[in-house]
Symmetry: C2
Subunit: 300 residues, 2 copies
């Protein structure tokens, strides 16, 4: 029988809260902490009962009482702040699993900082979005020591159907970067092509259905094609977040090759135009607006 680890969650946003709920439903959740305390208090209230969930006073207290701390924050600086705040409570029986999307270098620095206290670290960015977090069907891209992963894998199985180790610390973030670059290029491909179809006066729903079954078929066309051509851009995946991730991808490209990725640079430029127009909270498929407006001068 698996001994249950005591699990803490830091960062109860759009992804962190449903992951905490999944841990609780599976009997693993011990404590939570959030920068805005009201969010943590609300979740603790929601999950009241036997066993209850502790609202930790600080990241250090949470670290002290847990064996696995999962972090889900927005940006590199947030992760660094949270890890520093955990340090006074860190111990050798603790593993920190960061599901945020941050730079490869940041992941490596966090691992080194925690190792000073004997605490293990895995970078474990996820894909599958809020829906995947709710259903426990995330894909988790893991970097770190294999034995550290095996120690916490039974708990992570409450969140993800595919937990894949891709190498040492940083490999998870590198894999996530590959995913985000591919997603950017596919967004460019699908919106450019459908804008051509729109300009040619083709029946776009028919066309999307038709192309989906062929060699140009892809998840994004199937799931975002029908909404984008109706002018619906509710996220999904927020454009400003993808922009943030692509900045990290571009940094990684520069580090590895000394040059930028032209494809990533193009998408960054397009997203910046849309963010200037106040579209940062829309789905990334709002790129279709730009592709159509380029042709007809209007804002579709």
């Amino acid at each position: 029988m698996t001994t249950r680890l005591r699990v803490g969650v830091i960062g109860l946003g759009a992804m962190g809260a449903p992951m905490a709920r999944r841990f609780h439903a599976a009997g693993w959740l011990h404590a939570v902490w959030n920068r805005t305390p009201a969010k943590a208090a609300a979740l603790v209230g929601e999950l009241a009962g036997e066993p209850g969930v502790i609202h930790a006073e600080s990241p250090a207290e949470l670290a002290r009482t847990c064996q696995l701390v999962l972090t889900s924050v927005s940006a590199d600086a947030d992760l660094q702040a949270v890890v520093e705040a955990m340090v006074p409570g860190c111990h050798a029986d603790l593993t920190v699993v960061d599901t945020s999307t941050v730079a490869v270098d940041t992941a490596r620095r966090m691992a080194a900082r925690l190792a000073e206290h004997g605490t293990g670290f895995l970078d474990a960015p996820v894909s599958g979005g809020v829906e995947g977090a709710r259903r426990g069907s995330l894909v988790m891209m893991v970097g770190g020591a294999a034995e550290v992963l095996e120690r916490v894998r039974p708990a992570l199985a409450a969140l993800a159907t595919d937990i894949r180790r891709l190498g040492e610390v940083g490999a998870g973030q590198a894999a996530k970067a590959v995913n985000q670059v591919m997603a950017a290029g596919i967004n460019e491909a699908v919106t450019e092509a459908l804008a051509l179809g729109e300009a040619a006066g083709l029946p776009l729903d028919e066309l999307i259905d038709l192309l989906g079954g062929g060699a140009a078929g892809n998840w994004f066309l199937d799931h975002r094609g029908p909404t984008m051509v109706r002018g619906e851009y509710a996220p999904g995946f927020r454009l400003a977040l993808h922009h943030k991730d692509l900045v990290l991808c571009q940094q990684l490209w520069r580090q590895l090759s000394g040059a930028e990725s032209p494809l990533v640079a193009t998408t960054l430029g397009h997203y910046e135009t849309l963010m200037t127009q106040g579209r940062g909270d829309e789905d990334i498929s709002a790129l279709y607006r730009l592709k159509c407006s380029r042709r007809n001068g209007s804002q579709k």
Copy 2:
């Protein structure tokens, strides 16, 4: 019971020959013609027996004796030459179905030329490649009058599992252009992203498997990812042919919008570099060579 149309096939290349065989197996094939007569003679020999297949002396003779002529040629000029050569044999009981990838304008001109003789025309470019032609599992994008399509649909069903009418003459070619633009963009996306993964030292087979199940998942990654990272570039879809199609896509963009597609221009440039290196007969996934060499200066 469906009365069988007498079907002729012009152009017995990589796509035309297997389509002719499918018509024959279904009992529709009456005659064939090919610019290089030896190819037609060989196919007639292969299909000898009861009922035999006629090796027509000319496109005009083939047109005279058939009710459906399917054309499968390489380029716009070839199609124009074949249609002109058919004209003396054209009649009101004939429909010409062109499965080649040509310009929207060329399709419209062919339709008008044939209409002078009461002959129907459908532009019906296909996707699914040689494998799809062999299996009769092509996707056919059709432009033309609905009643003309319904007349020949029972015969076309021997070739394609999805026969989709997208509008009047030219709509099939416009839809094919959308498909080719999307395929170009996806090729750019997948090769760029995997080159980043390669540079980061990630295990590429694992990564391809992982990404295929997520929001960046696509047919090209699943089918060409594993081969490209092994340096295998057997077609598949010949790079020089995709280049030819993308030139047509760019012309269509210019006609419809007065501007070029930046995405298509980028891919055309990449393909031209590869063609200069003698890679035109490789699969389009050979773009991965360029993405990797950009980083490390070597030819992978």
